[in-house]
Symmetry: C2
Subunit: 332 residues, 2 copies
DNA sequence: TATCCTTTGACTGTAACGATTTATGATGTT
DNA sequence: AACATCATAAATCGTTACAGTCAAAGGATA
């Protein structure tokens, strides 16, 4: 039925090893033989069986990608970065969604290792002890993308979340705001709690401003949460005049909340976001935002993975890529 | 190094065939033996090698997914639907981006078949003759998701694009508009040219209105194209007062274009979109839109694929799922 | 009841599966 | 004759699948 390397060998009057050699571009085949083999391959429409190849060579040229949710733009962007670099290096990708669920992450890791992937890139907002252990015991390299592991023991690529957040809040402070709110996604996620929030606090304290816990709101990273956050915060006795939002959707929710209740952005209310997805340009006013370069993070993570799989020497396995703030109109 | 089925067999004093049977849940193993084997598996941390299994059984429990671009929300949504159903049926997914490029599509098909996937779900806006042929010759089942193949020869899942578009334009006509514009992505894509545009034309003609070619604009499916489309169309001598937009981004671009030049939506200008992504609720006014249920399309496509892979009888391989129009505020 | 035959249950042994890889052998050059 | 070069055969890789084995349990027959 299916044509195998053996059929090609027979048809071309050579051994299967020779066919293997021409398929894999090995030098030790004389041109005439190579040509003959290639012709037979063409004629028989031979297509090497990657599974057999994987069994024999113990390499599958496939890498696993575990992300929280592909339908979330932020992760999709990263996935695209990962995939682009992967194809560049001739790897294929097994993609799976974890929904930030530890149990799923663990199972996924296990089935991917069972499938003999050559490496894994993973995004996880919370590297739990169990997860940490699984990563540690993995027989193939794993790199974390846009995810912090506090032990700093694994290969990873990130931006400096703390510094970036600090700068964002500072921008608001410089514009003279005295009441600045912090609105983010779940504080179980390390990036939100240990970096965005801590940076916010430090910026406030460094500016000799009062740290008011009631200005700190955390729920989901969604548009609706943004609207809700606006409602609770604007109902405060002494409401904030500026917002540091953990995501674009949150920021847009905040802005629409403000606008719906008659406030002008940025004249009366200023909002700075942390993401800079393509949404940022699709609101009025357009968002000023810390750029969280997910595509690049994915791409760099995948590149790092190829190096490790290749056993190249890595000078620094915790890559920090530069960040910047894109200034548009939600901040004066 | 790695523990194999053979190690387990030796350690448990049974043959590897028996181990294989307990791993695969075969009945012919007496409970005591099963327990013993399971214990050894646990102790040795044995993890079946899916590659070896794939070679022996000729099944990989992985399916290929070829989509234009995962970083585009519409496809990401579909990918999520596909993946959810795939996991439900214990399949993994090899995901790749084609960028609507025929050559890439062909190569991807080839490498996926090389990897011995058990089936493929594909999204392609233009099923070219070559592509058609490749699909036809595929040794494993392929289902098209949200993609039309005009020969109607392959398994596919779609909505009734023509009817949905017709209804959308009709809505605008009912609201009394005499000048209705058509703004879509590339007309090379079958859905745009054969369905959205044709339905638009028919609706206009059926209403005894004049079909004005200058009201038909086609470029990208992006926000910027929407803005551009507004600019060219509003500069017309007799500009349109209503727009049928092929995507949410296009619709938002149109709306922002209108608003930036002082027009009120929906009072002076009405816009109806075709997509209904989560963006639809994130603009003011919120978009009235034909809902293009990509998640469902992906899910149903994957489900259909499992049936075909399972050799179950399929009553209808061209699935049309119901559509509806979500009414919000960009249309009165 | 004793005998023989067939079934069933619970395994075992081993040949695929379709490549890669290594040791070995043949060929041709200098 | 020595030395590269190229080609070959055979051994793996870790499973599954199929054909058997062997003992125990019925069932039928005389």
């Amino acid at each position: 039925m299916t044509v195998t390397i053996y059929d090609v060998a027979r048809e071309a009057n050579v051994s299967m090893a020779t066919v293997s050699r021409v398929v894999n571009g090995n030098q030790n085949v004389k041109p005439a033989t190579r040509k003959k083999v290639l012709e037979v391959i063409e004629r028989l429409e031979y297509r090497p069986n990657a599974v057999a190849r994987g069994l024999a060579s113990k390499k599958t040229t496939t890498v696993g990608v575990i992300i929280p949710d592909i339908s979330n733009n932020i992760y999709a962007e990263a996935a695209r970065g990962i995939e682009d670099i992967a194809t560049m290096y001739r790897y294929n990708i097994i993609l799976a969604n974890s929904d930030q669920n530890e149990e799923k992450e663990l199972t996924l890791l296990d089935t991917m290792l069972g499938k003999q992937v050559d490496g894994i890139v993973m995004m996880s907002d919370a590297v739990t002890p169990k997860l940490h252990q699984s990563i540690e015991h993995s027989p193939v390299p794993i790199v974390l993308a846009g995810s912090v592991d506090e032990s700093n023991q694994f290969a990873s690529v990130n931006i400096d979340y703390f510094q970036a957040s600090y700068e964002a809040v500072q921008l608001l402070i410089e514009n003279g705001h005295k009441r600045i709110a912090f609105v983010s996604g779940p504080l179980q996620y390390t990036i939100n709690s240990k970096f965005k929030l801590e940076a916010y606090k430090k910026a406030i304290v460094d500016a000799n401003m009062e740290l008011d816990e009631s200005l700190i709101v955390s729920d989901d990273d969604t548009y609706d949460s943004g609207i809700e956050a606006w409602e609770t915060l604007s109902a405060l006795e002494n409401p904030p005049t500026a917002f540091f939002a953990g995501s674009d959707e949150l920021a847009i929710g905040l802005i629409h909340g403000a606008q719906d209740s008659g406030k002008k952005v940025p004249n009366e209310i200023e909002v700075i976001s942390f993401e800079n997805s393509k949404l940022a340009r699709m609101v009025r006013p357009q968002l000023t935002s810390v750029v969280f370069p997910l595509y690049d993070i994915g791409a760099v993570a995948m590149r790092l993975l190829t190096k490790i799989m290749n056993k190249e020497k890595i000078d620094n396995q915790s890559v920090i890529i530069p960040h910047r703030i894109e200034k548009r109109n939600s901040v004066k």
